[in-house]
C-alpha cells in the first residue's frame, strides 16, 4: 500500500496481524491483497470499487441513511478483497480522510480546529448555534461523538501514536457538520425547551427536529 499515507497501518498489515480500523477489520492476504471486512460474519463479497463500498455502508441495518461515516452503525455481513495499491481509496470511501488524518497525526502535523471556532464562523440559519452555552456544547458533543468511531482530538482527546498493535484509532480534527447541526437545534431548545419523547430508532439519525430522534432525546435527557 501507499506507505506515505499511513506508515504504521502498512507496517501492521505487513507483519501479518489483523488491524481494527473503525468498525472494519483489515488483514493482509496472499498475492498482494488485503481483506477488508465489515462488522460481523461476512455473508457477501462487495465489488472492490470505492463507489460500491460507499453504497454498501450508506444505510444502516434498519435502512436509515448514515450521514456520519464514523457512526457505529456500519452495516455488517460483508467483506471485500482489495489490491494493496487500491486500499487507500477503498478506506477513503468508507471513512473519508481517515488515512490522511492518521498520517498527519503521526507526523504531529494534524491541523486541529475546536468547536468554538467552528460555531463562531457559522452564518445564516446556523449562526444561532454559537449561542449554545458551554454545558450544551459539552453535552451535544458527548451525545454525538460517542456514536462515532473517530476520536475527537479537537476536544483534547489523545491518540497513542504507537498503538498499532492491531488497532488504528482515527482522529477527528474538527467538529463535523452533523455536530454543528445538533448544536443549532440545541441552541433553539435552550431558548424554548421542548418536551421529551421516547427515543425512536426509526427516526432518521440526524433529524434532530423530530421528537424521538435518538440524539435529540439523549441530549434533552442529559440536560
Amino acid at each position: 500500500m501507499d506507505v506515505s499515507r499511513e506508515d504504521g497501518l502498512a507496517q501492521a498489515l505487513a507483519s501479518g496481524i489483523s488491524v481494527e480500523f473503525g468498525q472494519l477489520t483489515l488483514r493482509a492476504e496472499n498475492e498482494g491483497t488485503v481483506l477488508v471486512a465489515g462488522p460481523g460474519a461476512a455473508a457477501d463479497t462487495v465489488s472492490p470499487t470505492p463507489a460500491a463500498l460507499r453504497e454498501r455502508v450508506r444505510y444502516d441495518e434498519r435502512g436509515r441513511y448514515r450521514p456520519l461515516s464514523g457512526a457505529k452503525s456500519m452495516p455488517g455481513g460483508w467483506c471485500v478483497h482489495i489490491a494493496e495499491a487500491a486500499l487507500p481509496d477503498a478506506l477513503d470511501a468508507l471513512y473519508p480522510l481517515a488515512l490522511e488524518h492518521l498520517a498527519a497525526g503521526a507526523r504531529a502535523e494534524l491541523r486541529v480546529v475546536g468547536l468554538e471556532e467552528v460555531l463562531e464562523r457559522q452564518a445564516g440559519r446556523y449562526s444561532v448555534a454559537a449561542s449554545l452555552d458551554a454545558d450544551g456544547r459539552r453535552v451535544a458533543s458527548e451525545v454525538l461523538c460517542r456514536q462515532c468511531v473517530r476520536v475527537p482530538v479537537w476536544r483534547g482527546e489523545q491518540i497513542d501514536a504507537a498503538e498499532h498493535g492491531g488497532v488504528a484509532s482515527i482522529p477527528c480534527p474538527e467538529p463535523c457538520s452533523v455536530l454543528v447541526s445538533l448544536c443549532r437545534e440545541a441552541a433553539l431548545w435552550q431558548q424554548s425547551p421542548p418536551a421529551r419523547s421516547e427515543p425512536d430508532p426509526t427516526v432518521a439519525f440526524a433529524a434532530f427536529e423530530t421528537p424521538g430522534n435518538e440524539m435529540r432525546e439523549a441530549y434533552l435527557a442529559a440536560r
Binding site: 461515516s69 473519508p96 480522510l97 490522511e100 480546529v113 452564518a123 474538527e174 447541526s181
Partner: protein
C-alpha cells in the same frame, strides 16, 4: 491523453451541498467525479460537501497535488458559493494559497455557458421539437435576488443557441411562477427543463405535484407539457466541470 499532458498534474475537487437526511442528493456529484476520474485528464479528482464527508473545511486535506481547482456543483451563484464555501475552505478569492497548495476557485456549474447545451439535450431527450417552447425552470427565492441570475442567464444562452423557437424562464419559489406556464408561452407544446443539480425532492416530487403532471407528458386543453429530467444529472455536466477547471488553469 495522460493526466500530466491534459492538466499539468492539477487536481479537481468537486464540492456539493450533500444532505444529513437524504442519501441520494449527492449522487450526481459522485457520478460526475467518477466520470472525470475515468476520463484520466486530471491527476486527482475528489469530492467535498457542506453536509456530508469529507466536509468542506477538511476537503483539501485529501488532495495530494499542489494545484487544486475547486468547482462548485451548484446552479446559482449566491450564499453557498459566495459565503459558505470560501469561509469553510479558507479561500481568499479566485486564487488562494492554502497549506502550500495553489487553490483555484471557479464559478458554479450553473454559471457556465456550456451548460446551455446540456439544457437543450435534456429538452430533446424529453421529446422536445424545434417548434416547441422550452421553459427553463429554476428554484429562485424571494429572499435572495442573486439566485435567479444564472437561471435567466442560461435561458439567454439557450435562446442564443436557436434550437427552440420560444424560450422562457419560470421558477418554483418566485415569479414568474411555474404554475402559470401555459399563460406565458404561445407554443402548443412546452418542454419544462428543471435547472436543478439532482433529481431529488423538488424535481421528483414537489414540481410534478404542484404542476399536477401525469408523467413525462401532460395534456391540458389541447396543449402538451413535457417534463425533462434535472439538468445536473446529465453525464455531459462533467464536461462543463472540465471546461470551468481548464479555464481556471490560465489564472495567474
Amino acid at each position: 491523453m495522460t493526466s500530466a499532458n491534459a492538466s499539468n498534474g492539477r487536481g479537481l475537487l468537486l464540492v456539493g451541498h450533500g444532505s444529513h437526511l437524504n442519501g441520494d442528493s449527492s449522487a450526481p456529484v459522485y457520478e460526475h467525479a467518477e466520470r472525470l476520474r475515468a476520463g484520466g485528464d486530471w491527476a486527482e479528482v475528489r469530492t467535498g460537501f457542506w453536509k456530508e464527508e469529507p466536509q468542506l473545511s477538511r476537503a483539501l486535506d485529501g488532495c495530494h497535488v499542489s494545484d487544486v481547482t475547486v468547482v462548485p456543483v451548484f446552479i446559482s451563484a449566491g450564499y453557498f458559493t459566495n459565503e459558505v464555501i470560501p469561509r469553510e475552505m479558507r479561500l481568499t478569492g479566485k486564487l488562494s494559497c492554502i497549506d502550500g497548495k495553489t487553490v483555484r476557485y471557479t464559478g458554479p456549474v450553473g454559471a457556465h455557458q456550456s451548460l446551455a447545451r446540456v439544457i437543450v439535450q435534456r429538452a430533446m431527450e424529453a421529446g422536445g421539437q424545434p417548434g416547441d417552447a422550452l421553459a427553463v425552470l429554476g428554484h429562485g427565492t424571494p429572499r435572495n435576488p442573486d439566485s435567479e441570475r444564472n437561471i435567466y442567464q442560461q435561458s439567454g444562452f439557450v435562446r442564443d443557441l436557436g434550437t427552440f423557437s420560444e424560450v422562457t424562464t419560470i421558477f418554483l419559489d418566485q415569479e414568474p411562477n411555474m404554475r402559470g406556464i401555459f399563460d406565458v408561452v404561445e407554443a402548443e407544446t412546452i418542454v419544462v427543463v428543471p435547472l436543478f443539480i439532482a433529481d431529488g425532492w423538488h424535481v421528483g416530487e414537489t414540481i410534478p405535484e404542484d404542476l399536477a403532471l401525469d408523467g413525462v407528458e401532460t395534456r391540458r386543453g389541447g396543449r402538451r407539457l413535457r417534463y425533462a429530467r434535472a439538468v445536473g444529472t446529465h453525464p455531459a455536466v462533467a464536461d462543463v466541470i472540465s471546461e470551468l477547471a481548464y479555464e481556471a488553469g490560465a489564472w495567474t
